[in-house]
């Protein structure tokens, strides 16, 4: 069963299309990340799903029902805002109880639900505290608990972790994913952080300039990017200019590649740095010179200059390649790691 369907959704502000003919089908109970640079339309798309903006065109279906024109307060979706939007005049418990109070849930039942939700987000006994006395991570959890209070059909989060420091953010990513799996709730998260998307999502939707560039499971997005934008946006990649050679080989700066077919005269090949292997120059398909060595401790990045093209290779510290800038070096690009993209 499909949890959420976006059918040809378009949002225009004046003459600018912030979201341009987006089609997406999200299976029930799955976790989707809308990923893209700022201004790509991902937040606008989320706000339309929440009912805070009205689409210029298209339909939004949840569980088969058309909710396109339903006002936000009748949609039964939980949303966590980037600012968190905790109500400053209410305590933690009152914040979480707010949607229950609005629905006229009995006081005793409200108290029971609040305890339950506080336990769910691992803040037991915090009900009485004012929200201003909480740390960033705790505020985050309160916002999540409040959004889940009505057991929503859809859980929406707009850059929920962007205010947290790096370590806490990573921990919350794992926690959020585990929470979502435990509740089995269809979830849509907007983020510009690809690590966040890779950690949490069943389905990553990469957007740029109002359009979906690729939607696929995280590993596929990483391994098989659909175009140069996706390849470049997700992780670090080498985008290598390639031309069809006379003898059926593929000519790239610094050498030739075998076992790859180009769709056109010219194309771009994407290779992840961890797939690029360093080999002795005389047995290599591509030769170049070491430009810079970046030793990060956990890994070593080697920047190689091959006929005007920079190619980055990553070696593990165990290999300890003894390379000095300027030294000649050979590179091997395994054919199965090369993704051929349009020009």
């Amino acid at each position: 069963m499909t949890g959420l369907v976006l059918d040809n959704i378009t949002k225009r502000f004046g003459s600018v299309a912030a979201v341009d003919r987006v089609n997406l089908s999200v299976p029930d109970g799955s976790f989707v990340c809308l990923l893209g640079p700022s201004g790509c339309g991902k937040t606008t798309l989320l706000r339309m799903i929440a009912g805070l903006e009205e689409p210029s065109e298209g339909r939004i279906l949840v569980g088969g029902a058309d909710v396109t024109r339903a006002p936000a307060h009748q949609r039964d979706f939980g949303m966590v805002f980037q600012s968190l939007a905790l109500f400053p005049h209410l305590s933690v418990g009152e914040n979480i109880a707010y949607p229950l109070r609005i629905r006229g849930v009995a006081k005793a039942e409200q108290a029971r639900r609040v305890e339950e939700l506080l336990a769910l987000v691992r803040l037991p006994g915090f009900g009485e505290r004012p929200v201003s006395k909480l740390s960033g991570g705790q505020r985050q959890r309160v916002a999540i608990a409040r959004a889940l209070a009505l057991q929503p059909r859809l859980f929406l989060l707009d850059e929920p972790l962007s205010a947290l420091d790096a370590k806490l953010r990573e921990a919350m990513q794992v926690e959020l994913r585990q929470l979502q799996q435990r509740l089995g709730i269809t979830t849509v998260v907007v983020t510009h952080d690809q690590r966040e998307a890779m950690t949490m999502a069943d389905l990553v939707v990469v957007m740029n300039e109002g359009r979906i560039r690729q939607s696929a499971p995280p590993v596929d997005i990483y391994r098989r990017p659909a175009d140069t934008f996706v390849a470049d946006f997700i992780g670090i990649t080498n985008l290598i200019r390639a031309r069809r050679g006379a003898d059926g080989t593929v000519r790239v700066p610094g050498g030739t590649l075998a076992g790859i077919a180009l769709p056109a005269e010219e194309a771009t090949i994407s290779v992840r740095p961890e797939d690029v292997r360093l080999v002795p120059p005389h047995e290599a398909a591509i030769t170049g010179r070491v430009d810079f060595v970046r030793d990060l401790g956990a890994s070593i990045e080697i920047y190689v200059e091959a006929d005007g093209q920079r190619i980055v290779a990553v070696a593990s510290p165990r290999e300890r390649p003894d390379l000095q800038p300027g030294a000649p070096v050979g590179l091997a690009l395994p054919a199965d790691a090369c993704v051929v993209l349009g020009a």
């Binding site: 805070l52 979706f77 600012s83 109500f87 609005i102 209070a149 929406l156």
Partner: protein, 284 residues
Amino acid sequence: MTAARPQRLRDYAPLVFPALMLTVFFVVPFGIMVAISFFRRVQGAFYEPDFVFDNYARFLSAFFGQVLGFSLVLAALVALVAVTIAFPFTFLLARLSRRWQVVWLVALLSIVSLSEVIVGFAWSTLFSRTAGVTNILVALGLMSEPMSLSPSFGALLTGLSYHAFPYTVLVLYPALARLDPTLMEAARTLGASPPRAFVTVVVPALRNTILATMIMVFVFALGSYLLPQLLGRPSNWTLSVLITDQAIYQSNLPFAAAMAVFLVLVSLALVGLSLLVGRKEAAQ
């Protein structure tokens, strides 16, 4: 954010000018007024320095007590009406586009530039039988014949609220413009209709601002002495009217000063009390 505390006498230098102005134009006149309130009035003349409580004693009568009570109730009602109308108005104003906000704010400022006299006469015309709003109601068939609505308590309340309205908006505007718009949106996604979200989130989140604004309007309305005479019956006259009457027409400055001092003390006490209540609420 805390700034470094001033270390030497010289660090207080920027305060000298405002402190001087405050002393010369506020503390000294107020001191003179307090002094005069204890002076003895000389019939047929002016007053002579003395230290008597006659002026205060005369003030402690049922009549002046009633007038004081009426003045306080009127000012409180004006504060209530002005803030009740101005708060939603400013909330909507702060959500308009920049350009429309400027248009509205300029219009409000132009009302501020009108003197109390013009506001009073404009409203007494609007409330008159011959040229007033009742003529429109008659034309619409809602009333059988035009009538005069002024002078009356309602006319006075309307005039004072109108006069206070632009100030109220200007005081509320910064707080409402800074209000995080996602608070409303969050309330909506949590099941509250927009009016419900406004009442359950925006109003309580800004209750301290609302209280402070009400105090300001209260004090503003307490000082009004022209509109009660233009739009109200003599029974609607406030203490400020009586003070003016005593000071200017009866030449009884000591008594006027005593009433003014008393009015200041009572309003200070009320303001202090409401701040105390506000702080207690906030601490809960």
